[in-house]
């Protein structure tokens, strides 16, 4: 009967001789890692949803809502600037945070021109319908004093169907 140590010695010798001249890369841990990552990513993969512009400086509030965002004009309201569809249209809000006036002319002009453009598209593109939808992404510290001006301006510029974008809370 052969001893265990004799088998082990022969096995090592066999491997050494058979792998001579070949670089040996251990792929098993890499395949394991990729498999785990693939399973995790496939589980968290989502096919639905709407691509949005998100300004880095804006931290939106969390909500329990599960409604999906719809394609719409995006108005992002930060503490210091306003973006429409990802483009900065106002970079100094000091005046508008203090005044009593509800209409913000710069925002109104931008939105109104978009509304006019979409209404013209409605006439030329058969399946396109302008529904006046706008999504507001606002920073959670914004006071209602300023938010109501954005809401009022969007409504006056023919965007009365307003949704608020929020982070989903579990």
């Amino acid at each position: 009967m052969k001893s265990k140590s004799a088998w082990t010695g022969r096995s090592i010798a066999y491997h050494r001789s058979s792998l001579e001249g070949r670089s040996m890369v251990m792929l098993t841990p890499l395949v394991d890692m990729f498999t785990i990552m693939l399973i995790f990513l496939l589980m968290s993969y989502s096919t639905g949803g709407q691509m949005t512009y998100m300004a880095q400086s804006i931290l939106m509030p969390e909500s329990l809502s599960r409604e999906q965002l719809e394609p719409a004009v995006e108005i992002s309201v930060g503490t210091d600037r306003i973006y429409v569809d990802g483009v900065v249209i106002m970079d100094d809000l000091t005046e508008w945070q203090q005044t009593d006036k509800l209409l913000i002319p710069t925002l109104y002009e931008d939105l109104k021109m978009k509304a006019v453009k979409y209404k013209k598209m409605e006439e030329s593109v058969p399946l396109f319908r302008f529904t006046g939808k706008a999504t507001i992404q606002a920073d959670k510290v914004i006071p209602f004093r300023f938010l109501k001006k954005v809401l009022y301006t969007a409504d006056r510029a023919d965007f009365p169907n307003i949704s608020l974008a929020v982070f989903q809370k579990d």
Binding site: M37, P61, S65, E67, K140, P143, V166
Partner: protein, 206 residues
Amino acid sequence: MRSFPPRRKTFTGQMQAADVDLTPIMCLFIILVPLLLLTAVFERLAALKVGLPQASTLEAQEKPREPSGIVELRVLLQETGLSVEGTLSHDASGKEMDLYQDIRYEVPLVDDGRYDLPNLQVILKDLKRQYPKHEEVVLLVEDGVSYDTIVHTMDTCREEFFLHDGEKKRNPLFPAVVLSESFSEEKGFEGLREGTRTIDRELGLR
């Protein structure tokens, strides 16, 4: 007794380990993993539909809605706390009252200065139980209240959550939320509403 798995024998009679070709699976991983990482969503966004106050129009008057029992339900979101106001047209049994009844509940801030949203939901749940057909609530917000507080109050008004057989369920309360500014009797509506005619003319729209 054989204690090792069978191994292939080459024509020379030498033992050789079975060799699995990992190249195709590695290629698949190298393509799939970066693709999924690029499209991964770590923060999910949601939408909160919000209504704006509308003026009474002839069109609205032409289409009378079935009475829900509540003429209007308002939640006042003030810096000092919450209030629920409303006018009831029907009693809980569904009979129209001769004289409409005003209701008002105060929900003061809790000790650490937070809004007492659980208490607000208890009041709203009670109203919903009595008047299940009513869907709309008007949120009257004071100027200094933050957007974060508004969203949390809207969540409280829209639906309740409860555990049923260990599963989290949601039940709608007043899902149609209208956002409006608060007003005081002394000052009327706050803010100055400017016309847009001048701007429209400058833009060449009129």
